[in-house]
Symmetry: C2
Subunit: 72 residues, 2 copies
DNA sequence: TTGCAATGTAAAATATACTTTACATTATGT
DNA sequence: ACATAATGTAAAGTATATTTTACATTGCAA
C-alpha cells in the first residue's frame, strides 16, 4: 500500500557543496535545522516549495535531489 | 516577499491527456476533486508526493508540470 | 581534558495540505 | 426546456509539515 517512497540525496549534496552544514542549508532555504534533519532522516517529505528551494541552492534539478521510487 | 511562486500546467496537461477530467485525475492520484481544483487554482501548492504522482500520471517530469518561477 | 560545532532525539504548538459535505454555475446533449 | 457532467465556491474537520525549545551525543581542536 503506497508502493513508492520519496528518497533524497541531500546529505551527499551538502558535502559536495563545500561541506555545507545542516544549519547552513536550513538558513539558506528559510527553514529550521530540525526540518532539514527530519527530511534527511526521511521522517517526512518536504513541501513542493521547500523541495524547489533546496534544489535551487544546490543548483541542480529537483529530480536529482528527490526521487519517487518503488520501495524495495 | 518570497520572490517566487509555484505554477503548474495541470489544466493543459489534462486536456492533452484525453481530456481527463478533474475528478478522473483526482481519482488516479488518490486525492479528492477539491484538492485538484485547489491546486489548479493555485490556492495552495501540492505536497511533493502528490506532485510526483500527478507527474507520473501524465508520464512527464515533475518540472514539466510544476515550475518554481519569479512572480511577475 | 575542556570546549565547541555539528548532528541527533523528542515533544508540544502552529501552519498548511487535504478531506468531507453541500450547494451553485456553466456547458452540452436530447 | 430539461437532465446531466464538469467545474466552481465555501466552511469545518483531520493529517501532516514546520517551528520552537530543550537536551544528548559525537568528533575535533586547543
Amino acid at each position: 500500500m503506497a508502493g513508492k517512497v520519496i528518497k533524497n540525496n541531500i546529505r551527499v549534496l551538502r558535502f559536495q557543496n563545500d561541506e555545507m552544514t545542516q544549519a547552513a542549508l536550513a538558513d539558506k532555504s528559510g527553514v529550521t535545522r530540525q526540518t532539514i534533519l527530519a527530511i534527511e532522516a526521511a521522517k517526512y517529505a518536504p513541501s513542493l516549495e521547500l523541495a524547489f528551494k533546496i534544489s535551487d541552492i544546490f543548483s541542480t534539478p529537483l529530480e536529482d535531489v528527490f526521487q519517487y521510487v518503488d520501495k524495495e
